[in-house]
Structures are given as structure tokens and as C-alpha cells.
């Protein structure tokens, strides 16, 4: 079974640089890249429906763009994608655990630690909670 590298992709395309780095590593070690979009529409009760559909559409567009970019730059690398209805950090950790992945690669938008702690930052939370290596790649 090929080694797998998990990449977190945001709806705004954050994580593209991380995906490119992961794909480059994957091409060298004959591994697979898994693009993960985690989203949590349920800020008030379990109601999603149209909200969930709209968010998923945004995620699919972002992931498709990244996938096309990777396919062009590293044509030999196998790419999968997963859309997980959960808080982004939980989504990444669960997919990584389920797939026995080697590493989680995520982007970094340049916010400081205080901002990350107060306003929440997927990357900030992930590096403190992950049980496997996390690769942080600054977004371009």
C-alpha cells in the first residue's frame, strides 16, 4: 500500500502551497496525496440543508482547482479528495488516522499565535493536537 499524505484545503484555496509540497514529496516516494476539506455548518443546532450544500459547493470548487494544479505539475501522483462534515481539525485528524497517513500538510496564512488562540486557527490547533507529523507550508 502506498504511503499517504493528507493535505488540508480551505474554501479560499488556503493549503495550495502545502498541497504542492506534498505532491512533490509524493512524486519522490511514490506516495498518494489526499486533499481534505472539512466543514462544520452546524453553528446553531443540526440544521444544514441548503447551507451545507452551498458550503460543500465552495469546497468542491477549491479542491478541484488545487487538484488541477497538482495534476499539471506532478502528473504521476495519485490524488484523492475527501469532504468531511466536521470541524476542520477533527476532519484532518480522523482522515489521517483512518488512512494510517504519514503526515498532515497544512497551509499557514501568517497570523500570529495570539490571533490563532483567540480567533481559532486550524493550523495552530492542529500542531498542538496532532499525534502524527504536521508539515506547515506558508501560503504564497
Amino acid at each position: 500500500m502506498a504511503a499517504e499524505l493528507i493535505v488540508g484545503i480551505g474554501g479560499d484555496g488556503s493549503g495550495t502551497a502545502a498541497a504542492l509540497t506534498a505532491a512533490r514529496i509524493a512524486s519522490l516516494m511514490n506516495a498518494k496525496v489526499v486533499l481534505v476539506f472539512g466543514y462544520d455548518p452546524t453553528s446553531i443546532g443540526p440544521r444544514g440543508g441548503s447551507l451545507e450544500e452551498e458550503i460543500l459547493a465552495v469546497g468542491q470548487r477549491a479542491v478541484e482547482t488545487v487538484r488541477a494544479e497538482l495534476a499539471a505539475a506532478f502528473p504521476g501522483v495519485e490524488i484523492e479528495s475527501e469532504f468531511v462534515k466536521d470541524h476542520a481539525v477533527e476532519a484532518l485528524m480522523r482522515v489521517a488516522a483512518d488512512r494510517h497517513a504519514e503526515v498532515i500538510a497544512v497551509g499557514h496564512g501568517g497570523g500570529g499565535p495570539l490571533r490563532g488562540a483567540l480567533l481559532g486557527s486550524t493550523t495552530y490547533e492542529l500542531v498542538h493536537r496532532a499525534t502524527l507529523p504536521v508539515l506547515v507550508v506558508p501560503d504564497a
Partner: protein, 519 residues
């Protein structure tokens, strides 16, 4: 290449660790009802209508709201769309009535915004300088900033962690409870007397009869109810959270019951404390900032500050029951093609409806300024009137969801006693009571002696409560020309409504059923 979409049965909601604990579920339910703010905004008005019987009204208003929660619970099983009343209305009544139900929900949220902004502005100033609290320019300015801040929070998708919520709500409840106990204590024995602005107020001994309706006229009960339904607005979140965590343990069921008891208890003791401290007249005379005026008499300065902070944080928390549902309804209407698609636009980074959020924030500010101008230049009290007006809007759209539930599930009502009670009787009873309260208020509020003043010869409550609702009709007719596809949807065939107690309860996507002969 493969694409997988995973569903997580227990969404984490940022509450670390996955499952919602007992305390967390109670906190979410109580916090979205915002007891501190609800009391600050309504206790003076309820006491004005019901005098010493305020505790009765506070308790009684819970009955129809709890009945309607049953219909929310079941309709949510068929269609958990964020458009709630809008999508349920389309399924039960058809696209036109559904559109109006969605509009009613947005209007209710809009009507309350000036009060939320006004109370927050006023209490924020009271924290620092009591004398400036009457400065209308300052309170309005801070109120506008508050609306912008809340819209920003909703747009940003910021949620407090469970621990911060527990801390904030814990402070709020403790301060309210201490106030109530001290106030009741001061009314016992010889009682307390105060002279304020030349009027002498004396405390009265609390009596169990305050919890009975005897001696109250039907007019006073409905007038009190239309204000008091507002204090339980958002309580239905308890039911939603309950559903969400059902697989984790028995926690949620117990939590829903416990949070309801906590809420009822706090409303009961605080209304007892408020009425007994210096008598009901004092509460009525200070209805603009009743909790502050009462707190100042009962509590030491530091506790008064805490009380003010509790009202403020509670007001901020209540954006969960105002801005969020409004923008989610707008998104749902845009997404289902019943309104401009722009309303469904999602911010790619924050994954929240950005266009709807800022549109709602902007309209709220405009509406707030209209009410401030009206209140300042006429004898009418548009602020307080907006609480009664929101009660009307809540009554009409909650009432409609009760009727929707019966219509939608009519095939299942008589299948079992449990179904009859939970899907038929409770939603029906709650719906009838609320629609009666709405109609009675429309009738009673048509002239000036209802209170809150008049505008253009019509009672202000009636004007605010129905003007925006009625405005929905021409808008709906415009939308029906512009969006013919959506308006060709028909009601869901009742035979196809699924058993709400089975494993598969989800209805077919909205728009599956169309009127014959139209595309």
C-alpha cells in the same frame, strides 16, 4: 481518483473532545435563550401588563413555546434545512405561504435588533457613567457599533469555546440568582422604602398567588403573553442540540429537561424578586432599564456592575437567536431559488453567508435609526413597542410551524397515542394559542390606549408588528414573477411523508414535487 463525502454523526461544534457533555448541552440551551437580556428587556413591560402576576405570565408563556418546540423537533426530522419555517412552510402550505413564513422569520429577527442594540448601548454606558445613559446620540452610536460587532462575529463564524460559555453563563445565572434572593429578602420583615423622583415606593411581601391567573383579565394575559413569548425565543435550540447528541448517551434528554428547569427557575425567582423589592409600580416606571434600577437598590456596586455585564454578554449571546437564523433563512431562500441567488453566497474562507450577513446588518442599522428617530420625535415608545411587536411576529411564525407540523404529518397523527400527543395535540394547541395571541393583539393594539403610543393614528405595536409582515406580500408577489420555478413547487404529498419514528425520516429535496402543467 475517488471522492468521498463523510458524515459525522456527532458534529463537534468546536467543543473539543467530540461529544457534548451534560453541562455543555445545558449551557448551549440556556445561553441561546439569553435570560439576562430577555429579563432586562421585558420584565418592566410584563409587570406593566400583569402587575404582581408577572411571575404567572413568565411561567405561562412557556406553555405554547414548549408545545411548538415539539413541532420543530419533528419537522426538523423531515427537513433539517437551515431555512426552518421557510422550507417547512413550502412543504406544508406551498411556495407562497412558505415564502411568507420565511419572511416572517426574518422580520421577527429584524424587529428585535433595535431593542438589542438599544439595551446593549444603554447598559454599556451604565457600566461607566450613569448620567450619559440618557444621551440618545451616545446610546444610538454605541448601539450601531454593537450591531456591526455582532454582524462581524456572525460573518467571521466565531464561536466561543464551551468553557468560556460556561463561565459567562455561570456568572450571568449566579448574579441573577443573587439579585433575586437579596430582593426577596429585602421585601420580607419590615420591607424597604425608597423615594425616587418624588414617588414613594414600598416593597410588598411575595405571595404564592402571584403564580395564579386569578384576577387577571384576558386582555392583560394576552398583552403579557405577547411580550413574554419573547423570553423563551431560542429555547428550541435545546431541542436541536438534544437531537444532535442523541447517539452519545442519555445526556441530552436529561440536559434538555435540566436546562428548561434552570430557565424557568431563574425567570420565576427574578420576576418574584423584581416585583417584591419595591412593588410592581417601580418596575413599570423603570421599564427602560429595569434590571439596572432594581439591581442598584438590592445589590452592592460591584454586583451591580456584574449584573450589567451579565445583561451585556447575554445580549451578545442572543445574536445566536437573531442574526444567525435571519441570515440562514435568507441563504436558504436564495439557495432554493425563491430570492436573489446572491443571498446564498458563501465567504470561501469563513464558510458563512457573507452577503446575507452584511445585508441584514445594514438593514438592522437603518431600521434602528428609523425607530430611534420616531421615538425621539414623537410621544411613542418604539423601543418597548418593538418587544411586543417581535412577540407578534414570533407568535405568527411559531404558530404557523405548529400548523405546518399537523398538516405535514397528518398521515401519522393517528397511528399512535404518542404521535397524537407530540405531532398533533401539542403543535395544534401551541399554534392555536399563539395565533390567538397574534389576532387578539392586532385587535387590541389598533388604537392608542394599548400603550406604547400611536403613529399615524394607529397603535405603534400594531404598526411595527404588522407593517413589515404585510410588506412581505408585495415582495412575495414580485418574487413569484421573477422566480417562476420556485413558485411552481407544490406541497409535499401527505401520503409520502415518512414515519418520523423510523430510521429514515428525511423528505425528498425541496422542488421534487411540482404543480401539474407547469415546469
Amino acid at each position: 481518483m475517488s471522492v468521498a463525502v463523510h458524515e459525522n454523526t456527532v458534529p463537534s461544534k468546536g467543543l473539543k473532545g467530540g461529544s457534548l457533555g451534560l453541562i455543555a448541552v445545558i449551557v448551549i440551551g440556556v445561553a441561546s435563550t439569553a435570560p439576562g437580556y430577555s429579563l432586562a428587556a421585558s420584565i418592566g413591560l410584563v409587570t406593566g401588563e400583569a402587575n404582581t402576576k408577572a411571575p404567572f405570565i413568565m411561567l405561562f408563556a412557556f406553555v405554547p413555546m414548549a408545545c411548538i418546540a415539539a413541532s420543530f423537533y419533528y419537522l426538523n426530522k423531515a427537513d433539517p434545512d437551515c431555512g426552518t419555517n421557510f422550507t417547512w412552510g413550502v412543504r406544508a402550505f406551498g411556495p407562497k405561504a412558505g415564502w411568507i413564513a420565511g419572511w416572517g422569520c426574518i422580520v421577527a429577527d429584524l424587529v428585535i435588533m433595535p431593542n438589542l442594540a438599544g439595551v446593549s448601548g444603554q447598559y454599556l454606558i451604565l457600566l461607566f457613567d450613569e448620567k450619559s445613559a440618557d444621551n440618545i446620540y451616545l446610546t444610538t452610536f454605541i448601539g450601531i457599533l454593537f450591531i456591526i460587532a455582532m454582524t462581524w462575529i456572525c460573518w467571521k463564524g466565531i464561536e466561543l469555546s464551551a468553557r468560556s460559555q460556561v463561565l459567562l453563563l455561570g456568572t450571568e445565572l449566579v448574579v441573577l440568582a443573587v439579585f433575586a434572593v437579596v430582593a426577596i429578602g429585602k421585601s420580607l420583615g419590615n420591607g424597604t422604602t425608597r423615594v425616587v423622583d418624588g414617588t414613594t415606593y414600598h416593597s410588598i411581601k411575595p405571595s404564592l398567588s402571584w403564580m395564579s391567573p386569578s384576577g387577571l383579565s384576558t386582555n392583560a394575559i394576552t398583552a403579557g403573553l405577547v411580550v413574554a413569548v419573547f423570553i423563551y425565543w431560542g429555547w428550541d435550540t435545546c431541542v436541536s442540540v438534544n437531537e444532535e447528541a442523541k447517539d452519545s448517551s442519555k445526556t441530552p434528554g436529561r440536559a434538555a429537561v435540566l436546562s428548561t428547569l434552570v430557565l424557568l427557575a431563574i425567570y420565576l425567582i427574578v420576576s418574584y424578586g423584581a416585583v417584591s423589592l419595591l412593588g410592581p409600580q417601580f418596575v413599570t416606571d423603570n421599564s427602560d432599564d429595569a434590571m439596572y434600577a432594581l439591581g442598584k437598590i438590592a445589590l452592592p456596586t460591584i454586583m451591580v456592575k456584574l449584573l450589567v455585564i451579565a445583561v451585556l454578554t447575554s445580549a451578545a449571546a442572543s445574536c445566536q437567536t437573531t442574526i444567525l437564523p435571519a441570515t440562514r433563512t435568507m441563504l436558504s431562500m436564495g439557495s432554493h431559488g425563491a430570492a436573489p441567488a446572491k443571498l446564498a453566497q458563501i465567504d470561501p474562507k469563513r464558510l458563512t453567508p457573507d452577503y446575507s450577513s452584511w445585508l441584514f446588518g445594514g438593514i438592522s442599522i437603518a431600521w434602528y435609526l428609523v425607530l430611534v428617530t420616531v421615538s425621539h420625535n414623537t410621544s411613542t415608545d418604539a423601543y418597548s413597542a418593538s418587544i411586543a411587536a417581535v412577540g407578534m411576529a414570533i407568535a405568527v411564525y411559531y404558530g404557523l410551524s405548529g400548523v405546518s407540523c399537523i398538516l405535514y404529518f397528518r398521515r401519522w397523527i393517528f397511528k399512535s397515542l404518542k404521535n397524537f400527543v407530540l405531532i398533533g395535540f401539542l403543535p395544534g394547541f401551541g399554534g392555536v394559542v399563539l395565533i390567538y395571541v397574534f389576532c387578539k393583539t392586532v385587535w387590541d393594539a389598533r388604537n392608542g390606549d394599548y400603550g406604547y403610543g400611536t403613529l399615524f393614528g394607529v397603535g405603534t405595536v400594531l404598526l411595527i408588528g404588522t407593517l413589515l409582515l404585510v410588506l412581505g406580500i408585495p415582495l412575495m408577489l414580485w418574487a413569484s414573477k421573477k422566480y417562476p420555478t420556485f413558485f411552481s413547487y407544490s406541497v409535499d404529498p401527505p401520503d409520502l411523508a415518512k414515519d418520523p419514528d423510523s430510521d429514515d425520516t428525511l423528505a425528498a429535496p425541496l422542488g421534487t414535487y411540482r404543480k401539474k402543467g407547469r415546469v
